[in-house]
Structures are given as C-alpha cells and as structure tokens.
Subunit: 586 residues, 2 copies
C-alpha cells in the first residue's frame, strides 16, 4: 500500500461535556467513513475538552473520559481514529495526555505526550506525567506505511529528544501531530514555518490537527494542515470554523526522497500494526482538499476579529446563556463590543443600555442610538441622575470638607454597574464588559463599575487596535455600523465635566507601546526608555515610570476582572501571574 | 571540631522588596554574630520574597536579586550564612531556586533545589529548572563537620532520589532544610512527623528553617525547629512571629549512633570546605533555646486565628495601606472580621460602617454598635434607603410585570458596595470583605455587593468554623467583643423581609461537610452520598447535588472575588483552578 486517505477533524469540543464530545467525535468519524478515509485524527484531549484544568484532579472525570473512549471504540469498523484523551495509570497514580488509535473495536495504538508545556497559559505539569519515549518508541504501521503520532508541544520543543527526528529516524514516513493550540497574533505563521521545516528536514508528510472554539480566556483557531516531505503546505483549513480536512497522500514521495541509509529502526521501536483484509481501494472523490497553489491566508486584523467573534459566541453559549447586555456609552470601546456581540450571536440577542449622567454629552446619547439603530439592537435608556443624587445625599456629611477625587467619579460608574447587574439578574442576560487592554493595564477603569460583568471580550486589545478593528469592521460590512463621530471623538470617561482620557494618560500610541514592552516583552523601564528614544514621539522617562508603576499598582483590580480573550503573547489572566502585595517597581 | 552553634532565622520578607529583604537578612546575620553563631540559615528565596510569581520572568528582577546577595556577601566575617536566592545560568537561559553559603566575602557553597512543587498553590516548574543532584552531590564541610543543605520539597518527596538519604549516605551529619512553606490546618504536625522520622532514619541532626509572614493568599507560619539524630525535636520556635532560633549541637551524638559501614562517600561528592583559623570557641550563653522537654505546642483553633491575624496585617501593610473599612451588618461574619482587623492592626485603624436598609432588623443595628463600642472601633451609620428608592424608580418601567427575584435583593447589596468603595476611594481605606467559605462555595453572596473589597480574610473559613473562631476569641480576650446575640441569632442576608440563610441553604454543618468533601477531598456526589449516609443528620441526594452544582455554577463569581487567606488544604484561588465555561456536573 502506498496511498493513504487521511483526515484532520478540526472540531469544537466543550470542557466537561464528555457525552457531547463523544457524540461530536462520532459524527466526524462517520463523516470520514462516508469519504472512505483510512485514518482520521482528532485534536488533543478531544474527549475531555481543553484545558480541563482541575477537573483533571477529579477521579470521576478521568473515569468518564475513559468510558467515553470505550463508547467510540466499539462503534466503527475499518477506520483508524486517533483520539486525544486522558490516560490513567492507577498503579503509579499518574495520568498522561495521550492519544489512542481505535480500530475495529480495539485500542490499537497509544502515545503519551512527552513535552508538557508549563508556561504562559499552560499548567500541564500540574496534572500530567511525561511519556516514556526514552524507553521505547511507538510507531503505527498502517498496511506497511509507518506513522509517528505525537502531541502539540512535542513538535515545538527542540529537545533532546527531538521527537519528530526520533520518530522519522526510526522509520516514520508520516507524522501526525494533534493539538489544542490557542490563538495569538502571529501564531499560525509560526506553526506553518515549524511544520514545513520539520517536514523538509525529516523528509516526511506532516499532518497538523488543531481544535477550534472558545474556552474561557482562550480561542483555539484550528488552522489544521498538511505539509509535504519537501516542506510545502499541501492544504490547510479555514481557521475559526469546524472542518474536516481530507487528503490523499502517496508515500512514495517520501521513499524517493530518502536514501536507504537514512532510515533505520532499532529494537526500541514498538510497531502497532493495522491490517485491512477487506479494505476497498479508496474512493476518488476528494472533498475539502485545496490545491497546493491555493493556500488559505487570513490577514492579521481579520484573524483577530474572527477570534473575538468565536470566543464570544462560545463563551456565551458554553456558559448556558443566550442573550447579552452591554452598557453603551457612545464611545469606541462599547461600540466595538456591541458590533462583536451582534456579529457573533445576532442582533436579536443583544441588548444595549445607555445610562447617561449629568456629565454625558448629547452626542454620547445620539451616537449610541445611531449605532444600535444601524445594527437593529434594542437600546434601553436609563438616566442615572436620581441615583447619583441619592448617593450624594447619603455621603454628604461624611464627605464634607474633603477635596473631590475619584470617589465622586466612580460613584457614577458603580451606579451603572448596579443597574446593569440588576437587568442581568432579572432577565438572565450575560453582561459583556467593554474595557480594553490599555485601560486594564493602567487601571483606568472602575472596579465594580464599568468593570462589572461576566466577559471582557476586548480585554487584551490595546486602544489603538480597538480603532483598527472598528475601522476594519466598518470597511468589510455588512453596513458601516460604527458612526464616524464615534471614530473621530476624543476618548473620555465622562465622569466629570470636560474630562478627557488624555488628561490622565499619555497619547494612546505611546501608551500601547509601553504596555507591549512591559507586559509582552517583559522589559524594565530603563530598557523601555532606550527603545522610546528611537521613536519620533517617544515617551519621556517620567511617563514610562508613571505607566509601569500604575501597571504594577493595579494588579488588585485585574485580579477581580472578568476573563477576556487572549490575543497577544501575554494577556491578563492565567498568562500573567503577578503578586498583588509587591514592592517591586521598575 | 565537634560542637557547632547553628541558627534558624525565621524572618518576614516582602515580595519585590529586594533592598528591604537584604537589610532584614543583614540584621539577622549581625544578631547571630552577637551570639557567636557559626552557621545561620535563612528561608527559601529570602532575597526575592516568596512566591515572586512572574516577577521571575523579569531579567532585571533576577539581576537585582544577585546584586542583593553580593551586597550581603561582603559585609560579614567569620559566620557562614545560608541564603535562599534565584541562581541564574545565562548560558542555558535557566534559573534555579538555590541556596548560597556566604563566608568571608565569598560564595563558598551552592545548592540547587531538586524537587520543584507544581501543585496546589505552587507553580515552580513554570520558572525553575531542577538541580543536578544526579550528577554531583554538594556537601558543606565545616571544620570537619559534614552538612547537607536542601530546600523545602526536597525533604518531602520520596523520590527517587531521596535527597536526605543521598546526602547522609554520602557523609552528611547535619541536614539544613530551608523553606517557604505556607500554613494550612495540620501542616505543622506533618512537618514535625517528617523531620523527626527522617532524622531518626538517617541518624542526623536536621534543622528546619521556615519563613513567616503573609503574601497575598498565603501565610507562612514559621515553626522552625531542630530534630536530634534520635528523632526528637530539640527545640522549635513560636509560629507566626519573626524569630532567631539558636542551638548548640554536638556532632558526636551522630557519630556514636552511626556504624562505620553506614557512611561512605563517593567521587561524585563535592565538598565545600570552610576553615576557621581564628574562630573563638563559642560563647555559652544560649539565647532562644528551649529545653527538649518543653516543646511549644499551639492548638488548632489558635493557629488558625493567628494565621488570620498575621495574613491580615501583612496584606494591609505590604500593600501600602494603614486603615481598613468594614461593612458591619450585625451578623457573625462581619463581627469576626472586625475583631480580626482590630486584633491585627489596632482599633484606631479600623472603621466600621453600618448601612441598614428597610429590611434590617433593629438588632442588626444595635449589635453592630455594641461590637464597635466594645472594641473602640469607629462606626459610621449610612442608611441606604434613599439610594434604594432611586434604583427602584430607575428600573420601575423595565421591571414592570416581572416577578421579584434576586435582582431586587442584590440592588441593596450593590448600593452598599458602592458606598463602601466611595469611602475607600475618598479616605484611602482598604476594604475588608466579610464572606466566608460556605458562601464563596455556593455563591451565596452578591458580586460587586458584599463581595466588593480588596481582601477577604475569612474566604477559606467555613461558617461552622466562623462560630468556633468567634467563640474562641471571646474566650481568650481581651474582653468578649462579640455580643452573645450575634452568636445566637439565625444567619440572614436581610435582603428581603424575614429572610433566613436556611431558606436557601441546608444546615451549615451539612453544607460545610459537603464543601469539604467536594473541594478538599475532590469527591463526586455519589461518593459524598455514601459518606453522608453514615452521619446522623446526613444530607439527602437532592441536597448534595444541589450544592455541588451550585459550587460549579459559581466559579465565575469566585474568579472575580478578592484574595483571602488559605487555611484548608484547598482554598479558592491559586489552589483550585477550574474552568468557568464547563458542562461537568457531578
């Protein structure tokens, strides 16, 4: 046998929903059978969803996942299904992040992930033991074609051991790498670069299988693909969508490239053989296969927007909600969040509420109305003045003879937080928070006020990118929902008369650079100053120190903020774990 | 030389405050010199504070820690100081959790932690590489006395390798184990058991050195001690206080116990030799030494109370605050929190605020007043009725024809949250939150309402233990601050007429057992039911499932709650990392 029909099932699983995941996997195996696929591969930990976090410490969860695998095992004939699951070693009280090869009612193959990521958003060493590739190398032998299977980080880590090299030098002609790899800007380009260079170096086909879908802070973007032994992408899938990528490969391409002396096998190799006495030659109709000269490419800003849509839809639905509520201020942040909600779950499921105060400008109100009218989103109007007055009365004596400060400003924001939560509690809405990364970093937001809500979709989007995304969305349509006046006006919190963001913050391009250097690149203020000196409108030493200090100081606020979607290399959340009580400040 | 004077410096460092920590360490070295101490040992990562979390990803932080060590190095003569610090390997881009032995201007010894905890609240594999004990064993030779130094988890892990066994079998006669080990119920007893059994098994003296102090969710309780080669505790320190434990040991005790054939050394041992040409014989005055028959013991409830006091004081001060504000309701939770604040930072630094609503009982107000009068705590009285009415007006049309639900109840709680935050913003108070573990678990609390604030001191204390602690504090004095009426009344949130906790929750003893089984013991509802069947007032299947589901469902609330002090084996926070969007429910 030289020809093989393989498939990557890029599916959207749900953490905790083992039965649902089992059904979804079964559906995709069935679909693969319909196209006479020989081998279908599913993402990392498809049975449990990823990341299951501390559910992995619950024995009943692990057992349910094993039962789920058993259920699938007995359902299908004559197709090999590679499925990510949690493997249990009761004797040694260990669990593994594993893949099982199911064939004709048996588990015909197993591989345990060797490299466990334990950085950034990943905590895999908290749960899993590392596989035993040093002791023995497990390869699949599918009618004489040798296949090396591995999991996510096993592809990325240089080693030793270099897993791909170990598997190919022991005979593997096709590498199947299953993943739950979350989106971040530029990640897909890195994956392509890595997969193609590894394929070329080791003269093998390489199938990359990734999941798709949102889970709390993470969006998995898919982007499953196949590289040829020459290091060319043969085909890839649309990102951010469920997909079954089906491909025919001819293993002769590998064998021609390799010289005899390059391949060897040793006695540490364990070959799991799959024999197909009655297999029909595969059907020639090729579904979902994209010619090698027509690789799908997505522009950076488009991928970000799609990540936000998918993350939003999945967070809402996987948390069991249907409708969302957004406090619409007339500013750019809430406008973008409203459009994202609209585009992800439809205008009928989005409710806006405008809560003007004595400091709200006329245009704030009218711009909110125009936005919602263009989208067809229902907008409530609940002026906060009566509550504002009542709090002033309650606090009058206590605040007598004090200087006005943020105390008075924040009251307005917290009144809005109270109203929006009352509506949410009453009508079972999920509240979407509108704060961006620049605000989250500097603490330019009111805890329990505009920070109140369940999901902060643009929490990892710096203000400058909020503008970019808004213009992008107006440009691609449908419609141009965000009024030009919103795009043009100077940002303001409108918590006192004539207030502008620029009163307390440096220009947003400066601010966003400092945030990127400090948060993502982990540079101290001295290094940032060096960098800023090379910019035309570089920030001053004083500005840099003021901003980095305010980033440190506001850790307590971020710790109480709702989750948002990771977009950059370092988002606020699991990605960045800082002490609250800390005296470090540079 | 057979006699050695050793000291454990049980100090309270601060994360991020490298200069402050260097000064503190220097002060304790000086103090040790005053008593002619030969070797003084400091806790794990004393220079950086523990846990430094993602500050460890910042190169400038690592460099500052190295500079801090250098500073100490050159300050002292004729005393060996063992200091926990972050060691850097620039070539391989790795860092280690290490201990350095400083003597007469040199680093005369180094050891890298081998076992890195990566469970519970610990994330050490996120940062550190593991030491190389497999390759070579580093021992200290102090005038012929062989010493094995190791760090925290190195004592706990069974291995292989068993670090203590490896070091003693290669000649170590004294083991020094430095720690940053956080408090939890029963932990100190486990440490004593472990240290003495290891000492006895390996016939060595063992010095256990732990830090003391609060850092975010953690309280380090100290409890530094020395075990004899027979497995007896020779002396220990008071927990929850800075302390310098000084002890004289005679190494002959070890040599007599050991048979010749039990000790050997091999060529993998690297001996770091300390020679003392001019050392005076040590002074006989023995400070801080407790006779072996008079070991300090602390009762369980006392240790918990002390942990809460220390954690509170340090969180407040290390965050740069002086005064705290507490919403006092007349219930047991806020009474206990007020007493804790009073006992930890003094009544002049505690401000109470009573915010009665139309549903508040007369006794709620008078009990709050009695409590504060007894403590000498200033109490503000700010009735919320005006704000309550104004929100009803604002929401009147929108809520028309709907059934009353938690929406109306929560408004009152959020008004209180708004007032308390306004006071905090105005007067720079730190707000202490009063919710207990039973509420945090079941979500019986209002997000942005009574959950609003910076520090939730009793977040890990179940309701039944809230009563225990309150009675204990009334018992030990000074005074009996908590009125008997508060201890006797039925718990109520007072958010609607005649509301009682028992309307929505099972009896607290049942509830707290279910929480312990589910959270700490990680048992599913089936297992819990088995357990409950053996209890006199065991919970029903329906109750158990209702509670475990509400625990799962309220993850989103806990994610936005302020930090509190870890007391049990599994607290809410870094200790328990659960997905928010999850369909798992058993």
């Amino acid at each position: 046998m030289k020809n093989l029909r393989i498939a990557a099932a890029q599916i959207n699983t749900t953490v905790g929903d083992i039965n649902g995941n089992v059904d979804l996997i079964s559906k995709y195996i069935k679909k693969s059978q319909d196209y006479n696929v020989n081998i279908v591969a599913f993402p990392e930990l498809s049975i449990t969803g990823y990341p299951p976090e501390d559910l992995l410490l619950n024995d009943e969860y692990i057992n349910a996942n094993i039962q789920g695998l058993e259920k699938i095992k007995n359902k299908f004939r004559n197709i090999l299904s590679l499925i990510g699951f949690v493997e249990k070693d009761d004797q040694n009280n260990k669990i593994y992040n594993s893949v099982a090869g199911l064939f004709n009612g048996n588990i015909n193959f197993k591989y345990q992930k060797f490299f466990l990521p334990n950085y950034g958003v990943f905590d895999e060493k908290r749960y899993f033991s590392s596989g035993k590739i040093h002791e023995e190398i497990h390869l699949l032998d599918y009618m004489g074609i040798k296949i090396g299977v591995n999991i996510c980080e096993d592809l990325w880590e240089k080693g030793p051991p270099d897993i791909i090299k170990t598997q190919t030098q022991n005979g593997a002609e096709l590498i199947i790498n299953i993943n739950s790899s979350p989106f971040e800007i530029g990640k897909n380009e890195k994956r392509i670069e890595l997969l193609t260079s590894k394929s070329k170096e080791n003269k093998c086909f390489s199938l990359y299988v990734n999941q798709v879908g949102g889970q709390d802070e993470l969006v998995f973007d898919g982007g499953s693909m196949l590289s040829s032994p020459n290091g060319d992408i043969i085909a890839n899938t649309k990102q951010f969508e469920e997909n079954l990528l089906i491909l025919d490969i001819n293993i002769e391409e590998v064998r021609k490239l390799r010289k005899k002396n390059e391949q060897y096998s040793n006695n540490k190799v364990i070959s799991w053989k799959i024999q197909l006495p009655n297999q029909e030659p595969y059907n020639q109709k090729k579904i979902g296969i994209i010619p090698s000269k027509n690789i799908l490419k997505t522009e950076k800003i488009e991928t970000i927007y799609k990540a936000l849509l998918l993350g939003t839809r999945d967070y809402i639905h996987k948390s069991g909600f249907e409708k969302v509520l957004i406090a619409i201020s007339g500013g750019i942040d809430s406008a973008l969040v409203t459009v994202i909600a609209n585009d992800s779950i439809g205008n009928k499921n989005v409710i806006g509420v405008n809560m003007p105060s004595r400091y709200s400008s006329e245009s704030s109100i009218s711009d909110s109305e125009i936005l919602c009218r263009r989208l067809g989103v229902n907008l409530l109007n609940l002026p906060i003045e009566p509550a504002h007055i009542s709090f002033e009365k309650i606090l009058q004596r206590t605040f007598e003879n004090t200087n006005k400060n943020v105390a008075e400003e924040n009251i307005q924001s917290r009144i809005r937080g109270t109203i929006i939560m009352a509506l949410a509690n009453k009508f079972n809405y999920l509240v979407m928070v509108t704060g961006n990364k620049s605000e989250m970093a500097t603490g330019y937001a009111t805890l329990y006020g505009d920070m109140a809500g369940a999901f902060a979709v643009i929490k990892d989007i710096p203000k400058s990118m909020v503008y970019e995304l808004s213009k992008y969305r107006n440009h691609i349509g449908p419609g141009s929902p965000i009024p030009e006046t919103i795009l043009q006006k100077e940002p303001s919190a409108e918590l006192k008369a004539n207030q502008l963001d620029s009163d307390s913050l440096p220009p947003y391009d400066q601010l966003d650079r400092i945030i990127e250097y400090y948060i993502e690149k982990k540079m101290g203020s001295n290094l940032i100053l060096e960098k800023e000196k090379t910019e035309l409108n570089g920030a001053s030493k004083e500005t840099i120190e003021r901003i980095t200090k305010s980033i440190d100081k506001n850790e307590y606020k971020r710790r109480q903020s709702p989750p948002g979607i990771k977009i950059t290399s370092t988002s606020f959340g699991k990605d960045r774990r800082m002490p609250i009580a800390s005296k470090w400040n540079r």
